[in-house]
Symmetry: C2
Subunit: 680 residues, 2 copies
């Protein structure tokens, strides 16, 4: 094994290694082997190449580093510590202290088992579920390309940045990573560099047990430039590889680095035993001896901090200060563009962003909410310059194209476009959305509701990361019709409502669509899910029924009786009109009924108790919920006496008009259920 390094380089690298080993040992839990193997890569990247100012970790034009193999979290924490990354822009406290590292994997430590994005500055995304980080990195690279294309002017190179992602066998075995790599190759994202830790070890043993791809060949076929480094300890080769990436201007780069897990550990190196368990005190002592490491546990020699300060720190400070000067000049010459960019990056909604949201006249024949959704989306996007996105090859069906002048397509060569063609790659699409959101944009992604299953792991991460990705899912029930059970969502409303920190909107007519989009855009610390129909829905007469303005409260009384109702009828989406019809029938029969529209259960549950009781009085226990999905999310408001009109099985292939009666989802059944509930 060739090792070409000065002693200070080796010392810094070993500081990252030993901090990682010590922390895992102290926690008695974690993954020491990968940090030990990959410290030279991270050292070379951060200290020699990354455009990053440790004093300003939120600088929008910084290069991004993503640790996709999140289980190697100590590699990141150790690096952030020795690199002197600060807690916030201009702060004096470090982002990660030695005490934080001593408390690795303990309650309230920012050094969580896997990196969590808001826990400490310098953590660019939450990783751990394999494949997500590399896919996030594609979204970040897109954000860099898009900002550069949209805002750089001749003579300025202000808004772009490079994105590096370090990944493992596990990342690259997951299907999402091929989807993401295929997308990046297609888009020729030359600002994207993945570094593949080719260590031949997985949890079950040697990768030969399950994984024998020609990785360079595969990536070349996906349109990538590939560089191979034979030894993770060869700093010159690593340096040359990063230089080659920077020189490659027409495609993304994969650097394949052969490494030895737990490098330097006398008995555990190159074994899967070093993957996910502490090395043990004896092995650590022997490894430190092999490194020539003479310092105490958790000790970092002063020279290491100085090394990073003299390289990464000095280079970053200079780059940041040049950027500030250039941006000031740019601002003078391009006041409007600068203001637009600043507004996007701030995440604030500009004055009047919602003023063109259309209203829809009452119309019994009505309009599909996917269609009104498309109109509302366009009206908002025209005012909100950071709102951009697309569909997984279903734009003509989901109606999510931005059609106003200047919207354009995001394609190789036209990186300023706002319409994305994600291809039939739902999972990567959502993870790319996360990467775009983490870069300050407001992405939306779209597919048929049933295929939300394909992207669920990334939606969960939007929720964990509080990333305001807007998910637009159309074709939301058996209303899909002829395509049949594989294409008809039944359990998906329940399943997505189950995820903490997601707001699921299912508007009941086109005016609710407008109100729900407004509410969703205003939620900046969580993903929103917009669930829309394929089929036409009547646009309700809002002179006769309550206006849709209270949609943001999650539920509101849309039609009511005098005095205390005998029964509450509640519904969402395409079933809201059945609720209204049932309300009218019951009222005509002299039954005192209240109709409640429930476009967002989560937001309703977040209202104060007084509002909740106002809408659904505790004393009214006769209740009916109507939704073309399963019952589970409604039990909380139904109690033992309530009845449900909806689905309890998969759907069927037939015209939609026949399926609703076939599955008993009709106004007459709602009336019947109401009477039963009153009588029980």
């Amino acid at each position: 094994m060739s090792i070409s390094t000065t002693s200070i380089e080796q010392l810094s690298i070993n500081a990252i290694r030993t901090l990682s080993m010590d922390a895992v040992q102290q926690a008695n839990s974690g993954h020491p082997g990968t940090p030990m193997a990959l410290a030279p890569i991270v050292y070379t990247l951060w200290n020699k190449h990354l455009k990053y100012d440790p004093a300003n970790p939120s600088w929008p034009s910084r290069d991004r580093f993503v640790l996709s193999c999140g289980h190697a979290s100590m590699l990141l924490y150790s690096t952030l510590h020795v690199a002197g990354v600060k807690k916030a822009d201009g702060a004096s406290e470090p982002s990660i202290t030695i005490d934080n590292i001593r408390n690795f994997r303990q309650l309230h430590s920012p050094c969580a088992g896997h990196p969590e994005v808001h826990e400490a500055a310098g953590i660019e995304t939450t990783t751990g579920p394999l494949g997500q980080g590399v896919a996030n990195s594609v979204g970040m690279a897109i954000a860099g390309k898009w900002q550069a294309a949209r805002f750089d002017k001749p003579g300025y190179d202000l808004f772009g940045f490079d994105v590096y992602a370090l990944c493992s066998d596990g990342d690259l075995m997951e299907g999402i990573s091929t989807e993401a790599a295929s997308t990046a190759g297609h888009l020729k994202l030359s600002n994207l560099c993945w570094i593949y830790d080719d260590n031949k070890i997985t949890i079950e043993g040697d990768t030969d047990l399950a994984f024998t791809e020609d990785m360079p060949g595969k990536f070349r076929a996906l349109g990538w430039h590939v560089v191979e480094v034979e030894d993770a300890n060869d700093l010159e080769a690593l340096d040359a590889a990063f230089t080659e990436f920077k020189k490659t201007t027409d495609k993304p780069t994969l650097i394949v680095v052969k490494s030895i897990i737990a490098w330097g550990a006398p008995t555990k190196a190159n074994t899967h035993g070093a993957h996910g368990a502490p090395l043990g005190d004896d092995e650590i002592a022997a490894t430190k001896k092999a490194y020539g490491w003479t310092y105490d546990k958790f000790e970092v020699p002063a020279e290491v901090y100085e090394d990073f300060n003299a390289n990464l720190g000095a280079r970053g400070a200079e780059a940041k200060s040049k950027w500030e000067a250039d941006f000031a000049k740019y601002k003078k010459e391009n006041a409007e563009a600068a203001a637009t960019w600043s507004s996007i990056i701030s995440g604030e909604l500009p004055e009047g962003w919602d003023k063109d949201i259309p209203t829809f006249p009452a119309d019994a024949k009505g309009v599909a909410t996917r269609a009104s959704g498309g109109k509302v989306l366009n009206a908002i996007a025209a005012k909100l310059p950071g709102l951009l996105g697309g569909s997984a090859d279903l734009e003509p069906s989901t109606k999510t194209g931005l059609t106003f002048e200047g919207a354009g397509d995001f394609e190789p060569g036209t990186y300023c476009g706002r319409n994305f063609h994600f291809g039939i790659r739902e999972h990567a699409m959502a993870a790319i959305g996360n990467g775009m959101a983490l870069s300050g944009l407001r992405p939306y992604v779209s597919t048929f509701f049933v295929f939300s299953d394909y992207l669920r792991p990334s939606l969960r991460l939007s929720a964990i990361m509080k990333a305001p990705v807007l998910y637009i899912f159309t074709h939301d029930s058996i209303g899909v019709g002829e395509d049949g059970p594989t294409h008809q969502p039944v359990e998906h409303l329940a399943a997505i409502r189950a995820i903490p920190n997601v707001a699921v909107f299912r508007p009941g007519d086109s005016n609710e669509v407008g109100a729900c989009y407004k509410a969703a855009i205003e939620l900046t610390d969580r993903p929103s899910v917009m669930v829309l129909t394929r089929q036409n829905l009547p646009t309700l007469d809002r002179e006769k029924y309550a206006c849709s303005g209270n949609s943001a409260k999650g539920a509101y009384v849309i039609a009511d009786c005098d005095g205390t109702p005998e029964v509450l009828l509640m519904g969402t989406g395409s079933e809201l009109s059945l609720v209204i019809q049932a309300y009218e029938k019951l009222t005509a029969e002299g039954v005192k009924a209240r109709a409640i529209s429930v476009p967002c259960l989560e937001l309703f549950y977040e209202q104060d108790a007084a509002y909740q009781k106002e809408v659904m009085p505790c004393e009214v226990t006769a209740r009916v919920a109507v939704e073309a999905g399963i019952q589970q999310p409604w039990d909380r408001v139904l109690g033992f006496q309530g009845k449900f009109v909806g689905m309890s099985s998969f759907g069927a292939s037939a015209p939609a008009d026949e399926l609703f009666p076939y599955f008993g989802i009709t106004a007459d059944h709602v009336v019947e259920a109401a009477k039963k509930s009153i009588g029980s």
Copy 2:
């Protein structure tokens, strides 16, 4: 475009095309373009190559044909019709009649919008959600290889078969297909052939919008043999390609076929407008003219039936009858092996299959249910020869390895093994499981519970297809501890319970593990999900508490008071012992409490009302449910007065022992909740 064909070949191909066009037009819904383009491929494969007896569509050793691009369903229905496939082995009625085709996409027609496996003989799997069919085909190829390796004897070639899957751009863009292809390449599944319809058209337009991979290069890098056919109408080239597949004995084969969507349609050929909408009467008339087609709508000339009968039919009948003769001879010489194979394929459980399921002595320190699960799984697998499976690179953690003598690994060269190394490819793993189950085996697949999200679309298809795949998910809650929120399931119990036709088991101690495995194996028409802990759980003293035998009823009273209880305490998995502790504390305080173990909510809801009321009497409305997941699935049994002790947010990174109190999941909180519920 070169067309080399005899007139009868062309007539048969055009019969498939015109039936498909007519059916889509009649339904006014569906996908005509792909059947028109690919009819020559299916014709060549079925009539010239497939080992398939139309009179015996369930013959276990038939070659399998999977239409992965399920939206082209009419291609399959038309083919099954003209090929004379019968409704069942030996039946005289056809599987698909012209009337069925006339009722394409109508309620109760077996010709559903997408192929549904149990709707008609000859449909090998349910397809539509893209990428699933190709991944199923890997499972089927595995089943063929495994049966051949396990049961063929020198001089016999009885149990193997080939598997063909026809797939689209959409299939191959989905990440799952790369996972599946990588697995197949690694395993050198030479009995597997994918045919890729390279038509350059997707819904949003030309594939160049989003998809510019070098597909042959990619598949070669994945270990496949690649054959290219320049023209889907070149029957000689297609014939040669299938012959080349059959000659390739060391790897799977991809045949890339360039096609023109809606071939022959004068104005709609080669446009995405022909993908998902009827052609229209005029275009159909013009297309039929271009084909030289002079027959009526839905008419099939007698020569076409004769063509298939003379080729596919004669070849299939001969092969099947030779197989019968050979098998009879084999049976005489290898009675035990023949009986074992027949028993596997019948799906029946052999006498005494469950007799070695271990019981576990009471033990306060206890054992993790993943550990007892591994023991139970081994005890069953040793008696159930068709039970086989593995993990997505987590076997040392999920404890799902089969360790008894003769279990072995399934690897290239040792296809008789029963332990699979699926790699870090959860999604393909589950879809492969579906393919294995559809081939008559009893597969299990395994990963951490949180990563059930990665395979959810395939789990949904297990449920739709009634495929008895056993999902073993360990590390089932915040009990995961230090790995943190990305690795801690919170919403997953709710989300999987939401899927119709799935049984979710979460056993509360090791003896419930045994009872739940027994119940799961006995469910042969649905997938079962086994949810197991990472951490130790006390093994309850079943002398003191009720035995676990009623686990199969979903819920049972495990400890009770005299007379009518004041409060019902119910829980699952790791929280069952908290329920018991709370029961003891309340009892000691003089509160009349009943403890209920609920290992499977779905099975409990399927019991008759009398049993449900016996366990949870209606009049007892003070109730507490305890589960380290979200509340949603419990509302149905809690009503307005019940209380829930569980999770309402994502977890955190810390030792598990600290997390349960941190999130309020303790016996004391259960006691407190019980008192509140009684008091409210």
